[in-house]
Amino acid sequence: MLIRKDPEVLTMANEDVQRTLEELSRNLKESKAWLEEAQRVAHLGYWVWDLETNHLIWSDETYRIFGLTPQEGLIDLDKVREMIHPDDREAVFRTAGEAVRSGARADCEHRLFRPNGEMRIVHSLGDLKKDSSGRPYQIFGTTQDITERKRAEEAFQEISRKLLESNARLEEAQRIANVGHYSWNLIENRVVWSDEVYRIYGLSPQQGPIDLAMVREMIHPADRELVFHAAEDALQSEVPVDIEHRLVRPDGEVRTIHSVGTVKRDTSGRPYEMFGTAQDVTDRRRSEEALKQSQFYLSEGQRLAHMGSWAFNDSGHYWSDELYKIYGLDPQNGAPTVEQYLELIHPQDRTSMAESIKRMQEEHCGFDQIERIVRPDGQLRYIRAVAIPVIEQEVFKGFIGTTMDVTEQELLTQELRREQAYLTEAQSLTHIGSWAANFATMQNFHLSDETYRIHGLDPRQGPTPLERFWATLHPEDEPVVRATIENAIRTGTDYEIHEFRIRRADDGQIRVLRSIGHRNPAGEIGEYVGITMDITELKRAEEEREKLRQLEADLAHINRVNMLGELSAALAHEIKQPIAASITSANACLRWLARDPPDLERARAAAARIEEDGNRAADVINRLRSFYKKGSPPKREAVDIKEILREMTALFRTEALRHSVRIHSELHEERPHVLADRVQLQQVFMNLMLNALEAMKDSGGELTITSRSNPEGQLVVSISDTGVGLPAENTERIFDAFHTTKPQGTGMGLAITRSIVEAHGGRVWATANQGAGATLHFTLPAKAGARA
């Protein structure tokens, strides 16, 4: 409201003027009071700025706005300037300057500080006054305190901003949670959806108003009844809607929706709106399904694997069903305490388990051990318990673990270990090592401890390359071993190396081994499974036995020589007596004859004694000749020549080997049996074979025994050698007693042989061989039965 000093009013000087003036003055006063009141109510003050004098006049309200007491008179422009907020000072005076220059209304908002420090925001307007010449002389303006309004505005802006923000957040939240909301105006039967509901239905949010019929169409046919029934229920009975149903999106995808809704009613109870939310729970349902499935699989897997799992943390102690089963406990009773648990452990394992648990709790470390438990029903089981500490971001959270019933495996393992121990022991006792290897690629698949030990290697040093075993081979035997195995690989056959030497890796001792390898038909080329046997002791024993046998044979020989020596000594004495007597008598006879005169009587007597002694000597010889005829009446039995020959060959084997003599026989197959005294026949073979061997003593050669039958039906046995041969003279003499060509011979062998053979009704003779050596033949009557 403006007050103008109207010069025309003031110049009216009539009578009415005074009244009018008075009335005017009253009106003015009145107006002024109203104005004042209006200014105060509106917090609007006015001011006049005299541009010529640069004086400023304020209304009371202007003073109040500036926090000053209204006063008459002028206000100091500098003071006003001081009170304006420093940041706004420039702008205020610039605006004023602009107004003066351009004549436009000055309009600005600025802040000011009241003397008490309170800041106010004001809105000032100013109009420029010009005189008739157009010269500006005054600015009239108002200043309104807009602090409250400004604050209210700001608060409103803040609220609306927050509202927008929370709307956006709601939208975002709905989108993230797949939750949308809807409202169904029951009166107008109009539905409003949030954006997310559109999205849930596979529609674009800007698709326009919702057609209930369309919604109905989109609900899965199988669930339509349910949905509308639930809505009906809610309307009828005030029960909130809370259902899950499926819908079919326009693209055909089926989603599962969780829908919740409440019905709003007016004071009269009439329903006017249903408000609710719809949540797409398809993924959650799926993952729930998957979780259920995997839990099923897990528990089924645990059941099948006899494996239980557990967890131990701040929130408690969890045991899986299978774990209860393993320990024979009732899941209803919950997981046992540590003390109860330890009670289940086998007494012998309890201490170690208690220590493990203690360490686990104190040091937060896991464990993995096998121990025995005794179920409440008394059954003993082996379990493998594994515990793992759970540490998240370096903070210990608890333990998880598994427990597996390994009874069957453990028993099997123990059985296997026992078997293994037995096998190892057996191998160690017999010095037989087993192995499986590929000689072509020099890989080994299995080497028993004994195999290591046989080669002087340590099984405890872990896998050892096959080359180290090869390296122990004796250099002289290595080529043979290699060739045998290479040949076996090439031909794909088994092999046996009867004996070969190695030098033991540890003590360098030479050992004799035997190796048998069976080709693995299922394996690669060069794969063999076999055994290696240390036959050193065996061989030594065999050699000892061989030595013994040799000694035995030597002794037999010596005995025979001794026997013959004795015999011949006895015979020599027997024969020497009459011979010495006859020689002496002959000498005496000669002396009687040489006397002068000759004593013929005594000479004749001596000659008679000579004859007598000669006969006596002949008798001795005859006694010898008949020794085998009369001495012991020979037994006659069917004797198998082959068997005797086998015995004799065995007896002379060593002797033959020593002199490099090969013995072989070609026997008449049909008639191996003869009627003979077995012992005497053995003696014949022994004598003839010994002679043959001795003939080849220095040269070596071949001893051949053949048999055939002659036209008389007798069996002819020939023993042939390749030795020194017969003496050049009368070969028959060799059969005479005391005839010998050997330095150690007794000269009785062939004589006895002839005696025996002749006693059997056979004949013995000798022939010189075409090449070297001699053959001695004898005949024996074949067994009567065999002849028939």
Binding site: K576, A580, A581, T584, S585, A588, R591, W592, A606, R609
Partner: protein, 208 residues
């Protein structure tokens, strides 16, 4: 042909033929022979007079020749032995010869070897018998000496002077001279040297 002066060859052999042959051979050279089938038989009818020897078979039925030889030595019968054997070995012959056998012959032996051995044995025996006879005579003479004379003789042959002997036995030198003279006379010793030889043969213990 039997004569006490003739040397005798005793033949011991269990073989009758050989026994007779050796006897015949011995007799053919003019020696006397006597035969026995065993050592026991010889011992039972032994009558050795004059030089003799023994032809002994090593191998005899009961007592072997070597055992018989030892038996003879044990009984103090000194007779040269010629061993004959059918098969002698060296150790056996060494043993026999060490025990005093004259010869060791192996049957059949050369007749001359046996006869030479017999001759050697008889000669040996003859010398031994003569020595035996001398000792026998000396003993007879020695027995005629008085005890004092025997005492003095022993001291004389030990080389002591009369004076020493006198002080030894506590008599005068003159008395010693008498005893000494008597002993020399009784022993028919020509000199002290002769007396010493006699004492040696008699194997008198030397006196000091």
């Amino acid at each position: 042909m039997k004569s006490a002066a003739l040397p005798t060859v005793f033949i011991i052999d269990d073989d009758k033929g050989l026994r007779q042959a050796i006897e015949d051979l011995v007799e053919s050279v003019g020696l006397r022979a006597e035969t026995f089938a065993s050592g026991e038989e010889f011992l039972s009818r032994r009558h050795i007079s004059g030089p003799s020897c023994l032809v002994l078979d090593v191998r005899l039925p009961q007592m072997s020749g070597l055992d018989f030889q030892r038996r003879l030595t044990e009984t103090g019968t000194q007779i040269p032995i010629i061993f004959i054997t059918a098969h002698g070995d060296i150790p056996m012959s060494v043993r026999a010869l060490k025990s005093g056998a004259v010869e060791f012959l192996t049957k059949p032996f050369r007749d001359q070897d046996l006869l030479d051995a017999i001759q050697q044995a008889l000669q040996h025996d003859r010398a031994a018998q003569e020595q035996q006879a001398e000792i026998h005579d000396l003993r007879e003479l020695y027995r005629t000496l008085t005890a004092r004379e025997q005492e003095v003789m022993a001291l004389v042959v030990s080389g002591m002077l009369n004076k020493q002997i006198a002080s030894e036995i506590g008599v005068s030198e003159a008395t010693v001279k008498i005893h000494r003279g008597n002993a020399m006379h009784k022993m028919q010793a020509a000199s002290v040297v002769d007396l010493v030889r006699m004492a040696d043969k008699l194997k008198l213990p030397p006196r000091k």
